[in-house]
Protein backbone atom coordinates (compact mmCIF):
# COMPACT_ATOMS: atom_id res chain seq x y z
CA UNK A 1 0.00 0.00 0.00
CA UNK A 2 1.32 3.43 -0.90
CA UNK A 3 2.09 5.56 2.18
CA UNK A 4 -0.48 8.20 1.25
CA UNK A 5 -3.39 5.76 1.03
CA UNK A 6 -4.09 5.46 4.74
CA UNK A 7 -4.10 9.22 5.48
CA UNK A 8 -6.23 9.77 2.39
CA UNK A 9 -8.80 7.28 3.64
CA UNK A 10 -8.74 8.63 7.19
CA UNK A 11 -9.19 12.18 5.99
CA UNK A 12 -11.40 11.42 3.04
CA UNK A 13 -13.99 9.25 4.71
CA UNK A 14 -15.19 11.84 7.26
CA UNK A 15 -15.29 14.48 4.52
CA UNK A 16 -17.22 12.15 2.26
CA UNK A 17 -19.66 11.44 5.12
CA UNK A 18 -20.09 15.18 5.73
CA UNK A 19 -20.99 15.86 2.11
CA UNK A 20 -23.31 12.89 1.77
CA UNK A 21 -25.09 13.46 5.09
CA UNK A 22 -25.53 17.15 4.29
CA UNK A 23 -27.43 16.37 1.10
CA UNK A 24 -29.43 13.50 2.57
CA UNK A 25 -30.18 15.48 5.74
CA UNK A 26 -31.36 18.55 3.82
CA UNK A 27 -33.58 16.49 1.54
CA UNK A 28 -35.14 14.65 4.48
CA UNK A 29 -35.68 17.94 6.31
CA UNK A 30 -37.37 19.65 3.38
CA UNK A 31 -39.65 16.68 2.88
CA UNK A 32 -40.60 16.59 6.54
CA UNK A 33 -41.29 20.34 6.59
CA UNK A 34 -43.65 20.07 3.62
CA UNK A 35 -45.43 17.16 5.29
CA UNK A 36 -45.75 19.10 8.57
CA UNK A 37 -47.24 22.13 6.81
CA UNK A 38 -49.78 19.99 5.01
CA UNK A 39 -50.88 18.21 8.19
CA UNK A 40 -50.92 21.39 10.29
CA UNK A 41 -53.19 22.94 7.72
CA UNK A 42 -55.48 19.93 7.81
CA UNK A 43 -55.68 19.72 11.61
CA UNK A 44 -55.93 23.42 12.34
CA UNK A 45 -59.61 23.20 13.28
CA UNK A 46 -58.82 21.03 16.27
CA UNK A 47 -57.51 23.43 18.91
CA UNK A 48 -54.68 22.31 21.16
CA UNK A 49 -54.61 24.72 24.08
CA UNK A 50 -52.62 25.12 27.24
CA UNK A 51 -55.47 25.93 29.69
CA UNK A 52 -55.52 23.81 32.75
CA UNK A 53 -59.27 24.26 33.28
CA UNK A 54 -61.63 24.62 30.35
CA UNK A 55 -63.91 27.67 30.31
CA UNK A 56 -67.11 27.35 32.41
CA UNK A 57 -69.47 27.43 29.45
CA UNK A 58 -67.97 24.36 27.74
CA UNK A 59 -70.25 21.36 27.82
CA UNK A 60 -67.91 18.41 28.21
CA UNK A 61 -69.24 15.01 27.25
CA UNK A 62 -66.08 12.98 27.52
CA UNK A 63 -62.39 13.46 28.25
CA UNK A 64 -59.27 11.35 27.85
CA UNK A 65 -55.51 11.56 27.93
CA UNK A 66 -53.94 11.84 24.48
CA UNK A 67 -50.23 11.61 23.73
CA UNK A 68 -48.05 12.01 20.72
CA UNK A 69 -44.37 11.25 20.78
CA UNK A 70 -41.48 11.24 18.38
CA UNK A 71 -37.86 10.15 18.66
CA UNK A 72 -35.33 11.96 16.54
CA UNK A 73 -31.63 11.60 15.92
CA UNK A 74 -29.17 14.05 14.51
CA UNK A 75 -27.23 13.50 11.30
CA UNK A 76 -23.45 13.51 10.98
CA UNK A 77 -23.29 16.92 9.31
CA UNK A 78 -25.47 18.61 11.93
CA UNK A 79 -23.46 17.02 14.71
CA UNK A 80 -20.25 18.29 13.13
CA UNK A 81 -21.72 21.78 12.87
CA UNK A 82 -22.99 21.70 16.45
CA UNK A 83 -19.57 20.47 17.62
CA UNK A 84 -17.89 23.47 16.02
CA UNK A 85 -20.57 25.76 17.40
CA UNK A 86 -19.87 24.40 20.87
CA UNK A 87 -16.40 25.86 20.60
CA UNK A 88 -17.46 29.48 20.45
CA UNK A 89 -21.03 29.32 21.72
CA UNK A 90 -24.12 30.93 20.27
CA UNK A 91 -27.30 29.65 18.73
CA UNK A 92 -26.97 26.05 17.66
CA UNK A 93 -28.92 26.62 14.47
CA UNK A 94 -28.36 23.11 13.19
CA UNK A 95 -30.28 21.69 16.16
CA UNK A 96 -33.03 24.33 16.10
CA UNK A 97 -34.69 23.16 12.92
CA UNK A 98 -34.43 19.56 14.05
CA UNK A 99 -36.02 20.12 17.46
CA UNK A 100 -38.64 22.39 15.95
CA UNK A 101 -39.70 19.65 13.58
CA UNK A 102 -39.79 17.20 16.47
CA UNK A 103 -42.08 19.43 18.57
CA UNK A 104 -44.43 20.03 15.65
CA UNK A 105 -44.50 16.33 14.80
CA UNK A 106 -45.27 15.36 18.41
CA UNK A 107 -48.10 17.91 18.63
CA UNK A 108 -49.51 16.76 15.31
CA UNK A 109 -49.46 13.13 16.35
CA UNK A 110 -51.26 14.06 19.56
CA UNK A 111 -53.89 16.01 17.64
CA UNK A 112 -54.29 13.26 15.08
CA UNK A 113 -54.80 10.77 17.90
CA UNK A 114 -57.48 13.03 19.43
CA UNK A 115 -59.16 13.55 16.07
CA UNK A 116 -59.21 9.83 15.27
CA UNK A 117 -60.92 9.13 18.59
CA UNK A 118 -63.56 11.70 17.83
CA UNK A 119 -62.43 14.45 20.21
CA UNK A 120 -62.90 18.08 19.29
CA UNK A 121 -60.23 19.85 21.37
CA UNK A 122 -57.20 19.20 23.54
CA UNK A 123 -56.54 21.31 26.64
CA UNK A 124 -53.74 21.40 29.20
CA UNK A 125 -51.23 20.54 26.46
CA UNK A 126 -47.68 19.99 27.69
CA UNK A 127 -44.41 19.15 25.97
CA UNK A 128 -41.69 17.03 27.51
CA UNK A 129 -38.23 16.17 26.24
CA UNK A 130 -35.96 13.37 27.29
CA UNK A 131 -32.54 12.38 26.10
CA UNK A 132 -31.79 8.84 25.01
CA UNK A 133 -28.28 7.96 26.12
CA UNK A 134 -26.02 6.40 23.57
CA UNK A 135 -25.27 2.75 24.28
CA UNK A 136 -22.01 2.83 22.38
CA UNK A 137 -20.16 5.31 24.57
CA UNK A 138 -20.92 4.07 28.08
CA UNK A 139 -23.98 6.29 28.38
CA UNK A 140 -22.03 9.43 27.51
CA UNK A 141 -23.22 11.08 24.30
CA UNK A 142 -26.75 11.20 23.02
CA UNK A 143 -28.25 8.81 20.53
CA UNK A 144 -31.50 10.72 20.19
CA UNK A 145 -34.12 12.90 21.79
CA UNK A 146 -37.72 12.06 22.48
CA UNK A 147 -40.32 14.81 22.35
CA UNK A 148 -43.60 13.92 24.00
CA UNK A 149 -46.76 16.03 23.67
CA UNK A 150 -49.72 15.21 25.89
CA UNK A 151 -52.97 16.80 26.94
CA UNK A 152 -56.57 16.25 27.90
CA UNK A 153 -58.77 15.60 24.91
CA UNK A 154 -62.35 16.80 25.23
CA UNK A 155 -65.53 15.86 23.43
CA UNK A 156 -67.79 18.92 23.49
CA UNK A 157 -71.49 19.20 22.95
CA UNK A 158 -72.84 22.53 21.77
CA UNK A 159 -75.27 23.88 24.36
Amino acid sequence: MEPWVEPAIRLGFPLFLLVVTYFIGSAVERRHQRDLQRREQRSRNLPALTFQTPPEDWQIEESALVTGSVVISIDYFKRFLAGLRGLVGGRVASYESLLDRARREALLRMKERAFDSGFGAVVNVRLETSRLASSSRRGQGTSGVEVLAFGTALKLSRA
Binding site: F13, P14, Y22, F77, L84, V88, A93, E96
Partner: protein, 268 residues
Protein backbone atom coordinates in the same frame (compact mmCIF):
# COMPACT_ATOMS: atom_id res chain seq x y z
CA UNK B 1 -64.69 32.55 23.80
CA UNK B 2 -64.04 32.12 20.16
CA UNK B 3 -61.38 29.92 18.59
CA UNK B 4 -59.98 31.12 15.32
CA UNK B 5 -57.81 28.53 13.66
CA UNK B 6 -54.78 30.23 12.17
CA UNK B 7 -51.31 29.00 11.34
CA UNK B 8 -48.29 31.24 11.88
CA UNK B 9 -46.81 32.63 8.69
CA UNK B 10 -43.22 31.78 9.55
CA UNK B 11 -41.34 29.87 12.19
CA UNK B 12 -39.64 31.97 14.87
CA UNK B 13 -38.06 28.93 16.47
CA UNK B 14 -35.64 28.28 13.66
CA UNK B 15 -32.68 30.47 12.73
CA UNK B 16 -32.56 31.28 9.07
CA UNK B 17 -28.79 31.02 8.60
CA UNK B 18 -27.98 28.62 5.80
CA UNK B 19 -26.22 25.59 7.26
CA UNK B 20 -23.43 25.72 4.69
CA UNK B 21 -22.80 29.38 5.46
CA UNK B 22 -22.63 28.58 9.16
CA UNK B 23 -20.32 25.65 8.48
CA UNK B 24 -17.99 27.83 6.41
CA UNK B 25 -17.84 30.52 9.09
CA UNK B 26 -17.22 28.06 11.90
CA UNK B 27 -14.61 26.04 10.05
CA UNK B 28 -12.74 29.17 9.01
CA UNK B 29 -12.88 30.57 12.56
CA UNK B 30 -11.76 27.30 14.12
CA UNK B 31 -8.93 26.94 11.63
CA UNK B 32 -7.73 30.46 12.36
CA UNK B 33 -7.88 29.99 16.13
CA UNK B 34 -6.11 26.64 15.97
CA UNK B 35 -3.37 27.96 13.74
CA UNK B 36 -2.77 30.88 16.07
CA UNK B 37 -2.71 28.59 19.11
CA UNK B 38 -0.44 26.04 17.46
CA UNK B 39 2.01 28.67 16.29
CA UNK B 40 2.17 30.24 19.75
CA UNK B 41 2.60 26.84 21.38
CA UNK B 42 5.31 25.83 18.91
CA UNK B 43 7.17 28.94 19.90
CA UNK B 44 6.78 27.97 23.55
CA UNK B 45 8.13 24.48 22.76
CA UNK B 46 11.06 26.02 20.96
CA UNK B 47 11.86 28.04 24.09
CA UNK B 48 11.32 25.08 26.42
CA UNK B 49 13.57 22.86 24.31
CA UNK B 50 16.21 25.52 24.39
CA UNK B 51 16.12 26.06 28.13
CA UNK B 52 15.30 22.60 29.51
CA UNK B 53 18.58 21.07 30.73
CA UNK B 54 19.28 17.50 29.61
CA UNK B 55 19.57 16.44 33.26
CA UNK B 56 15.96 17.50 33.84
CA UNK B 57 14.91 15.75 30.71
CA UNK B 58 16.51 12.52 31.88
CA UNK B 59 14.83 12.88 35.26
CA UNK B 60 11.42 13.45 33.64
CA UNK B 61 11.64 10.75 31.00
CA UNK B 62 14.02 8.37 32.78
CA UNK B 63 11.18 5.94 33.35
CA UNK B 64 10.84 5.40 29.63
CA UNK B 65 14.43 4.32 29.33
CA UNK B 66 14.11 1.95 32.30
CA UNK B 67 10.98 0.45 30.80
CA UNK B 68 13.05 -0.75 27.85
CA UNK B 69 14.39 -3.54 30.03
CA UNK B 70 17.66 -5.44 30.14
CA UNK B 71 20.00 -5.43 27.21
CA UNK B 72 20.71 -8.56 25.22
CA UNK B 73 23.70 -9.39 23.03
CA UNK B 74 22.35 -7.47 20.05
CA UNK B 75 21.52 -4.27 21.86
CA UNK B 76 24.79 -4.49 23.82
CA UNK B 77 26.70 -4.49 20.54
CA UNK B 78 24.73 -1.48 19.26
CA UNK B 79 25.21 0.16 22.66
CA UNK B 80 28.96 -0.27 22.34
CA UNK B 81 28.91 1.49 18.96
CA UNK B 82 26.81 4.34 20.35
CA UNK B 83 29.12 4.71 23.36
CA UNK B 84 32.16 4.97 21.12
CA UNK B 85 30.46 7.48 18.83
CA UNK B 86 29.12 9.58 21.69
CA UNK B 87 32.62 9.82 23.15
CA UNK B 88 33.43 12.13 20.23
CA UNK B 89 30.56 14.45 21.15
CA UNK B 90 32.09 17.00 23.46
CA UNK B 91 29.93 18.12 26.35
CA UNK B 92 27.36 15.40 25.70
CA UNK B 93 24.83 15.84 28.51
CA UNK B 94 23.06 12.54 27.85
CA UNK B 95 23.51 9.01 29.07
CA UNK B 96 22.45 7.26 25.89
CA UNK B 97 20.87 3.85 26.05
CA UNK B 98 20.12 1.58 23.11
CA UNK B 99 17.20 -0.81 22.95
CA UNK B 100 16.19 -3.20 20.18
CA UNK B 101 12.58 -3.34 19.15
CA UNK B 102 11.53 -6.65 17.62
CA UNK B 103 10.10 -5.43 14.37
CA UNK B 104 10.80 -6.29 10.77
CA UNK B 105 10.59 -2.66 9.76
CA UNK B 106 13.73 -0.64 9.13
CA UNK B 107 13.67 2.14 11.66
CA UNK B 108 15.44 3.92 14.47
CA UNK B 109 14.09 6.54 16.87
CA UNK B 110 15.47 9.00 19.36
CA UNK B 111 13.19 9.01 22.41
CA UNK B 112 13.14 11.57 25.25
CA UNK B 113 15.42 10.72 28.16
CA UNK B 114 18.30 9.45 26.02
CA UNK B 115 16.89 6.23 24.56
CA UNK B 116 17.78 5.15 21.04
CA UNK B 117 15.42 2.51 19.76
CA UNK B 118 16.49 0.40 16.79
CA UNK B 119 14.35 -2.20 15.07
CA UNK B 120 15.69 -5.73 14.77
CA UNK B 121 14.93 -5.48 11.05
CA UNK B 122 17.45 -2.69 10.70
CA UNK B 123 20.13 -4.67 12.56
CA UNK B 124 19.58 -7.65 10.28
CA UNK B 125 19.73 -5.59 7.14
CA UNK B 126 22.91 -3.70 8.02
CA UNK B 127 25.88 -5.27 6.24
CA UNK B 128 28.70 -3.48 7.99
CA UNK B 129 29.37 -1.86 11.33
CA UNK B 130 30.08 1.41 9.54
CA UNK B 131 26.65 1.43 8.02
CA UNK B 132 24.96 0.83 11.37
CA UNK B 133 27.23 3.36 13.04
CA UNK B 134 26.00 6.08 10.73
CA UNK B 135 22.34 5.30 11.46
CA UNK B 136 23.08 5.35 15.21
CA UNK B 137 25.18 8.51 14.83
CA UNK B 138 22.25 10.10 13.06
CA UNK B 139 20.04 9.38 16.08
CA UNK B 140 22.73 10.79 18.40
CA UNK B 141 22.55 13.86 16.16
CA UNK B 142 18.84 14.16 16.96
CA UNK B 143 19.74 14.35 20.65
CA UNK B 144 22.27 17.05 19.93
CA UNK B 145 19.58 19.04 18.09
CA UNK B 146 17.08 18.04 20.81
CA UNK B 147 14.72 17.17 17.98
CA UNK B 148 13.08 14.38 19.98
CA UNK B 149 11.80 16.89 22.56
CA UNK B 150 10.63 19.27 19.90
CA UNK B 151 8.79 16.48 18.11
CA UNK B 152 7.18 15.32 21.34
CA UNK B 153 6.07 18.82 22.27
CA UNK B 154 4.70 19.57 18.84
CA UNK B 155 2.88 16.28 18.64
CA UNK B 156 1.21 16.91 21.99
CA UNK B 157 0.20 20.42 21.04
CA UNK B 158 -1.29 19.47 17.72
CA UNK B 159 -3.17 16.62 19.34
CA UNK B 160 -4.57 18.80 22.11
CA UNK B 161 -5.49 21.60 19.73
CA UNK B 162 -7.28 19.35 17.31
CA UNK B 163 -9.11 17.49 20.01
CA UNK B 164 -10.34 20.79 21.39
CA UNK B 165 -11.47 21.96 17.99
CA UNK B 166 -13.08 18.83 16.71
CA UNK B 167 -15.02 17.77 19.80
CA UNK B 168 -17.55 15.24 18.78
CA UNK B 169 -16.98 15.71 15.09
CA UNK B 170 -14.99 13.90 12.44
CA UNK B 171 -12.80 11.73 14.63
CA UNK B 172 -10.26 10.54 12.09
CA UNK B 173 -8.66 13.87 11.45
CA UNK B 174 -7.02 14.65 14.83
CA UNK B 175 -5.03 11.42 15.09
CA UNK B 176 -3.89 11.71 11.52
CA UNK B 177 -2.49 15.21 11.81
CA UNK B 178 -0.92 14.66 15.21
CA UNK B 179 0.69 11.47 13.96
CA UNK B 180 2.31 13.40 11.18
CA UNK B 181 3.44 16.20 13.46
CA UNK B 182 4.74 13.75 16.02
CA UNK B 183 6.62 11.49 13.70
CA UNK B 184 8.27 13.69 11.20
CA UNK B 185 11.32 15.65 11.97
CA UNK B 186 11.82 18.55 9.63
CA UNK B 187 14.13 18.36 6.65
CA UNK B 188 16.65 20.63 8.30
CA UNK B 189 16.63 18.58 11.48
CA UNK B 190 17.30 15.42 9.47
CA UNK B 191 20.13 17.06 7.59
CA UNK B 192 21.73 18.43 10.73
CA UNK B 193 21.47 14.97 12.33
CA UNK B 194 22.99 13.42 9.18
CA UNK B 195 25.92 15.80 9.23
CA UNK B 196 26.55 15.26 12.93
CA UNK B 197 26.24 11.49 12.56
CA UNK B 198 28.75 11.54 9.74
CA UNK B 199 31.18 13.60 11.81
CA UNK B 200 30.95 11.09 14.63
CA UNK B 201 31.58 8.22 12.22
CA UNK B 202 34.62 10.00 10.78
CA UNK B 203 35.95 10.75 14.27
CA UNK B 204 35.55 7.14 15.37
CA UNK B 205 36.67 5.21 12.31
CA UNK B 206 38.90 7.74 10.56
CA UNK B 207 36.87 7.36 7.35
CA UNK B 208 33.23 7.46 6.25
CA UNK B 209 33.22 4.45 3.97
CA UNK B 210 29.85 2.69 3.90
CA UNK B 211 28.10 5.40 5.87
CA UNK B 212 25.50 6.05 3.22
CA UNK B 213 25.13 2.38 2.26
CA UNK B 214 21.87 2.25 4.08
CA UNK B 215 20.36 5.08 2.05
CA UNK B 216 21.83 3.77 -1.17
CA UNK B 217 20.27 0.40 -0.58
CA UNK B 218 16.80 1.67 0.22
CA UNK B 219 15.50 2.25 -3.34
CA UNK B 220 16.57 -1.28 -4.32
CA UNK B 221 15.23 -2.68 -1.10
CA UNK B 222 11.87 -1.20 -1.95
CA UNK B 223 10.96 -4.19 -4.10
CA UNK B 224 11.91 -6.70 -1.43
CA UNK B 225 10.75 -4.98 1.72
CA UNK B 226 7.67 -3.12 0.59
CA UNK B 227 5.91 -1.93 3.72
CA UNK B 228 8.99 -2.04 5.91
CA UNK B 229 10.69 0.50 3.75
CA UNK B 230 7.53 2.55 3.92
CA UNK B 231 8.00 2.68 7.68
CA UNK B 232 11.45 4.13 7.32
CA UNK B 233 10.21 6.70 4.83
CA UNK B 234 7.46 7.70 7.22
CA UNK B 235 9.81 8.92 9.94
CA UNK B 236 13.00 9.54 7.98
CA UNK B 237 12.12 10.88 4.57
CA UNK B 238 14.95 9.77 2.34
CA UNK B 239 15.60 12.17 -0.41
CA UNK B 240 18.30 12.24 -3.02
CA UNK B 241 19.19 15.56 -1.44
CA UNK B 242 20.30 13.94 1.82
CA UNK B 243 22.62 11.50 0.08
CA UNK B 244 24.05 14.32 -1.99
CA UNK B 245 24.53 16.46 1.09
CA UNK B 246 26.52 13.66 2.73
CA UNK B 247 28.68 13.29 -0.37
CA UNK B 248 29.26 17.03 -0.47
CA UNK B 249 30.27 17.17 3.19
CA UNK B 250 32.59 14.19 2.68
CA UNK B 251 34.28 15.84 -0.27
CA UNK B 252 34.53 19.22 1.41
CA UNK B 253 36.28 17.76 4.44
CA UNK B 254 38.36 15.36 2.34
CA UNK B 255 37.18 12.32 4.29
CA UNK B 256 38.11 8.88 2.96
CA UNK B 257 35.50 6.65 1.39
CA UNK B 258 37.69 3.79 0.16
CA UNK B 259 38.64 2.06 3.39
CA UNK B 260 37.75 -1.50 4.29
CA UNK B 261 34.39 -1.97 5.99
CA UNK B 262 34.27 -3.48 9.43
CA UNK B 263 32.08 -6.60 9.46
CA UNK B 264 29.16 -6.77 11.80
CA UNK B 265 28.38 -9.63 14.14
CA UNK B 266 25.06 -9.09 15.81
CA UNK B 267 23.60 -12.56 15.80
CA UNK B 268 22.92 -13.57 19.40
Amino acid sequence: MKFEPRLPRDDVNVSRTHPLREAAQLVAGAALLTTAFVLAAFLAVELAVHFLPASWEQRIFGGWTEALGEQDARSAKAQAIVDRLAAHWEDNPYTLRVAVLSDDGLNAFAAPGGAIIVTSGLLEVAESENELAFVLGHEVGHFRGRDHLRALGRGLIVQVALQAVLVGSAGGIPTLVSDLAERRFGRDQERAADAFGLKLVQAEYGHVTGADDFFERLPDADADFGDEVGAWFATHPVTEGRIEDLAELTEERGWRTDATLRPIELAP
